[in-house]
C-alpha cells in the first residue's frame, strides 16, 4: 500500500475562486492510502515546495498527488521538489484542477465536485505507479538551419561563433532571402544590401558553416540530439567546385525570355543565371524549365563559353545524409497572391504593383536601375497611391486574419523615399490604422507626414479602374467625410505576408506544430518564443509570425542561444516513460513497428518454453528505450494489448477511469 500525500493549490484566486479547496483536501483525505492532505495558497512557491518536502519526510510518503495547474506548467517543478526529498520523480501525479476545472467552470459546487474526481483519479494512478529511472542519450554536436535568409544566416553565425558546426539548407541558388530584394530598411534608411551582404559573406567564409544552396530537406528521422536528415541537392547543371562565378555564360545564353524571379518578373533573365551580383555562393544555375539544351539537346552555348568547364548537363539530384543535434526552422515568408483582389486591378494593369515589386523598382540593382518608372510605359509617375492592409486583417477566405505587422513601416518608407527622390510626386497613403510600435518607428511615420508631406488618409480604396493610361482610384476619406476620386499613375498594394509554402510539409516532417495560418507554434507564446513544442526544433524569423528585420535578427540570435545550450550538453536525459512489450502476449504482427514515428521498435526471434519441455521460436517486438519518445502510438495499435507505456500503463489508465466513474 502506498502512503500518499495530497496537496491542493489555490493558485491565488485562480483555483480557489471556483473550487472549494478546503473541501477538496478534506474529501481526498478519506481516499484509501492517503495519509496526509492539505491545501495552500501557492504550492509552487518556495514555502509550498518546502511544505511538500517536509510532509514527505514527516509522513514517510511514497506517492504525492498535487492538485494544481496543468502538468505542462509545473509537473517538472514538483517532480524536482519531491526528488530532492528522496522520492522518485515518477511517484508524483498532477491533477489539473485549474485549466480543466476552475477556469472552465463558473459554479463553485460543480468545480469542487470535478476537482475531487480529478484528484481521485490521480490518487488511483499513484497506487499503481512504480519508480522509473531515466537513461541518457548522446548529443550530436552539429546544427541544421533550414532557410538561408537573414534569420537563418544570423542563427547560423551565432551557433558557429560558439564553436559548433552548422549547415544551412537554402532552396534558392543563393542565401540572403527576402532581404536581398529590399532597397532600404526602416527606420534608419540604410541600404539593405550594404548590411546584409557582409553577413552573407561571413557565413560563407566561416569555417564552421557549410551552405547547401539550391537544396531542400527531404526527410527527417530521429529525435532531439540525434536527428538523421536527408538533404536533396537539386541539380543546378553546374559543377559548384569548378564554377568561378565569372558570369560569362549568363551573358551569352541565347534564351533571353525567362521571367526574372529575383526582380519578381518585372524583367527577364537568361536560362543560366546568377540571381544577383552579390549572390553567395556565386555560382551559376541552369533553369531547367527554360534551357534549350536540357529540353531539346540543341544549344550548349554556356558549355562552350565556360573556361572553367563547369557546365554539366548530365548532373542529377543528389542526396546527402547528415546527423544533427538540433534543427532550426527559418523558412520565412512570402507576400500573398493578389489574384482574388480584382477591385485593385492588380492583374489588369502593370502599374498596380505590390510593395515588394515597388522595392525592386526603387532599387539601384533593379529592372529600372533605381529610377522609379511606370512598368507600363516607362514614364515617371506623378501621383502614387499606396493601399495598406491588402489581405491583412480579413476574416474572409480571400485574406489573412492577422496584421502583417511590417506594412505600415515599409509603406511609410516608400512614401518618404518617393517624396525625397521625386518632390514633384503626390503621394497618398490609405490606412485603416497606422501601427508603428517600435524604437523610432512612430517618429519615422510622423516624419513622412510632417517633413515629406505624404497625404495620409484614414480610409480604404474601394476600386481601381485602369482608364486611358491612368488608374482611376475611388476611395473613402473617413475623417474628411468624403469619397475621393484620384487619377493615379501608380498604385502600390501592401500585400499581406504568409509563411512560405514549404513550411507545412516541413512541419509534418519535423512533427512540429503549426497554427491555422501555417505559422510555426512556439512552445510558450511568452516564455519560450523560439522553441517548438517538439524537442530539438527551434524557430527563427518570420516562420513563427510576421516580423521586421530587427525583430527577426533578435529572434534568430535567441534561437541560436537555445541551440548552443543544447549542443553544449554531452548527453540528454531520456524520457523514462518508454514503451515496453509483454513478450508472452506479443503475436509478432508488426502493427507497432509500422506506427512508431521514431523507428524505436524492431522484431527479434526469441526462444520460449513450450508445453512438455519443448522450446518455441517466436517473433516478438523489442523497443529501443534510447529512441522511444513515449508517444504511446504503439500501445493503441497493438491488437493483443501486449504493448504498455511505462508510467502510463493500460492498468494505470483504467484505474484512473474507474476512479472517475466511481
Amino acid at each position: 500500500m502506498q502512503r500518499i500525500g495530497v496537496f491542493v493549490c489555490w493558485c491565488g484566486s485562480n483555483i480557489a475562486a471556483t473550487v472549494d479547496v478546503e473541501k477538496v483536501s478534506q474529501v481526498l483525505a478519506q481516499e484509501p492510502g492517503v495519509v496526509f492532505s492539505t491545501n495552500y495558497q501557492y504550492m509552487c512557491s518556495q514555502a509550498g515546495q518546502e511544505m511538500i518536502q517536509e510532509s514527505i519526510h514527516k509522513y514517510q510518503l511514497t506517492g504525492v498527488v498535487i492538485c494544481s495547474c496543468s502538468p505542462r506548467m509545473h509537473e517538472a517543478t514538483f517532480r524536482k521538489t519531491c526528488e530532492k526529498a528522496g522520492l522518485n520523480a515518477h511517484m508524483v501525479e498532477i491533477a489539473n484542477i485549474r485549466e480543466q476545472c476552475s477556469w472552465i467552470h463558473k459554479d463553485m459546487a460543480t468545480g469542487t465536485e470535478k476537482a475531487v474526481i480529478l484528484g481521485r483519479a490521480a490518487i488511483a494512478k499513484v497506487h499503481l505507479n512504480a519508480p522509473l529511472t531515466a537513461g541518457q542519450s548522446p548529443v550530436k554536436k552539429r546544427a541544421l538551419v533550414i532557410g538561408g535568409g537573414i534569420a537563418g544566416i544570423q542563427t547560423a553565425l551565432d551557433i558557429a561563433d560558439a564553436g559548433f558546426d552548422v549547415d544551412i539548407v537554402e532552396k534558392q541558388p543563393t542565401i540572403g532571402g527576402k532581404m536581398t530584394q529590399i532597397d532600404k530598411t526602416f527606420p534608419t534608411l540604410d541600404c539593405a544590401a550594404c548590411i546584409l551582404t557582409p553577413k552573407m559573406v561571413d557565413a560563407a567564409q566561416h569555417e564552421k558553416i557549410h551552405i547547401y544552396s539550391y537544396a531542400e530537406v527531404e526527410k527527417v528521422k530521429g529525435f532531439v540530439g540525434n536527428f538523421q536528415v536527408t538533404i536533396k541537392k537539386k541539380a543546378r547543371y553546374v559543377d559548384e567546385t569548378k564554377c568561378t562565378g565569372c558570369g560569362l555564360c549568363t551573358e551569352k545564353c541565347p534564351q533571353k525570355k525567362v521571367p526574372n524571379a529575383f526582380n519578381l518578373g518585372l524583367d527577364n533573365r537568361r536560362a543560366i543565371y546568377i540571381p544577383f551580383a552579390q549572390a553567395v555562393p556565386k555560382i551559376a544555375t541552369i533553369d531547367a524549365d527554360y534551357c534549350t539544351m536540357l529540353k531539346s539537346g540543341k544549344c550548349g552555348v554556356c558549355s562552350k563559353v565556360c573556361t572553367a568547364g563547369a557546365i554539366d548537363y548530365k548532373q542529377t539530384d543528389t542526396y546527402i545524409e547528415e546527423e544533427y543535434g538540433a534543427i532550426v526552422v527559418a523558412t520565412g515568408f512570402n507576400p500573398i497572391k493578389l489574384d482574388k483582389y480584382d477591385e485593385f486591378a492588380y492583374s489588369q494593369s502593370p502599374d498596380v504593383v505590390t510593395s515588394l515589386e515597388f522595392e525592386r523598382l526603387m532599387n539601384a540593382a533593379g529592372p529600372t536601375g533605381g529610377t522609379l518608372l511606370r512598368p507600363s510605359d516607362g514614364a515617371h509617375p506623378h501621383t502614387i497611391v499606396f493601399v495598406q492592409c491588402v489581405g491583412s486583417r480579413c476574416d474572409d477566405e480571400k485574406g489573412k486574419p492577422y496584421c502583417s505587422k511590417i506594412c505600415c513601416m515599409y509603406t511609410a518608407k516608400h512614401a518618404m523615399l518617393c517624396r525625397e527622390k521625386y518632390p514633384d510626386t503626390d503621394v497618398y497613403v490609405f490606412y485603416i490604422d497606422v501601427r508603428t510600435p517600435g524604437k523610432n518607428f512612430d517618429e519615422f511615420y510622423r516624419r513622412a507626414v510632417e517633413e515629406y508631406g505624404v497625404h495620409y488618409i484614414k480610409g480604404m480604396v474601394g476600386k481601381v479602374v485602369p482608364q486611358d493610361g491612368k488608374l482611376k482610384v475611388q476611395a473613402s476619406d473617413l475623417l474628411g467625410g468624403s469619397q475621393l476620386h484620384i487619377e493615379a499613375d501608380m498604385v502600390v498594394l501592401a500585400a499581406a505576408i504568409e509563411p512560405d509554402e514549404t513550411a507545412r510539409p516541413l512541419a509534418t516532417m519535423l512533427t512540429a506544430s503549426m497554427d491555422t495560418n501555417d505559422f510555426f507554434t512556439e512552445a510558450h507564446p511568452k516564455l519560450r518564443p523560439v522553441e517548438s513544442p517538439t524537442a530539438g526544433i527551434f524557430l527563427s524569423g518570420a516562420c513563427q509570425g510576421p516580423k521586421d528585420i530587427p525583430e527577426t535578427v533578435a529572434q534568430a540570435s535567441a534561437a541560436a542561444a537555445k541551440v548552443i545550450g543544447l549542443l553544449c550538453k554531452d548527453s540528454l536525459t531520456c524520457n523514462p516513460c518508454t514503451a515496453q512489450p509483454d513478450e508472452l502476449m506479443c503475436n509478432g504482427c508488426s502493427s507497432c513497428e509500422k506506427v512508431c514515428p521514431y523507428g524505436a521498435i524492431t522484431y527479434a526471434d526469441k526462444e520460449f518454453r513450450g508445453p512438455n519441455r519443448t522450446t518455441l521460436l517466436r517473433r516478438v517486438a523489442q523497443v529501443n528505450p534510447a529512441v522511444c519518445q513515449g508517444c504511446g502510438a504503439c500501445t493503441v495499435a497493438c491488437p493483443s494489448g501486449a504493448m504498455d507505456l511505462k508510467g502510463f500503463s493500460n492498468q494505470q489508465i483504467m484505474a484512473e477511469v474507474d476512479a472517475i466513474c466511481r
Binding site: D395, I432, G459, G462, K463, S476, Q483
Partner: protein
C-alpha cells in the same frame, strides 16, 4: 430596435474595423446623407431612428459592392435592407398596394422596378 435590426440582417456590426472600404466602393455615395460605414456605426451605437428617417436607405442600389469588398464580412447592405424592412414593418403597410399598380404602369418601366417599388416607393 438595435437587436431587431441585428436579428433581421444577421449582421454583427461589432466586427467592423472602420476601414471604410464599403464607403470607398459605394457607387451611390453622393446620393446618401449617411454612408455605408456610418450605417454600420449607427446600428452599433443604436441610432436606428435617424437611419429609418433617412432617404439614403432608399437610394442604396443594393449592388452589394460593400458586401463583396468588406474585409471583415460585415455586409453593410444587409443592414440597410434590414432598416428598410424595419420601416415597413413598423408602419404595418406597404407604401404601394397591388391595386395602385395598374394606373402607374408605364410600358417603358422594367418589371423589376415595379417589384422594388413595393418597398421603395414613397409619396
Amino acid at each position: 430596435m438595435m437587436e431587431t435590426i441585428r436579428r433581421i440582417s444577421g449582421v454583427n456590426p461589432r466586427k467592423c474595423m472602420k476601414c471604410g472600404k464599403c464607403t470607398a466602393s459605394c457607387p451611390a455615395y453622393d446620393e446618401m446623407e449617411f454612408h455605408p460605414h456610418q450605417f454600420v456605426d449607427m446600428v452599433e451605437t443604436g441610432r436606428i431612428e435617424e437611419l429609418m428617417q433617412s432617404k439614403g436607405i432608399y437610394t442604396c442600389l443594393s449592388c452589394f459592392a460593400c458586401v463583396e469588398r468588406c474585409p471583415r464580412s460585415v455586409e453593410p447592405a444587409k443592414l440597410i435592407e434590414a432598416v428598410r424592412l424595419a420601416v415597413l414593418r413598423q408602419q404595418n403597410e406597404n407604401h404601394l398596394t397591388a391595386n395602385d399598380i395598374a394606373e402607374k404602369l408605364d410600358p417603358e418601366l422594367p418589371q423589376q422596378a415595379i417589384t422594388s417599388a413595393f418597398r421603395k416607393y414613397r409619396k
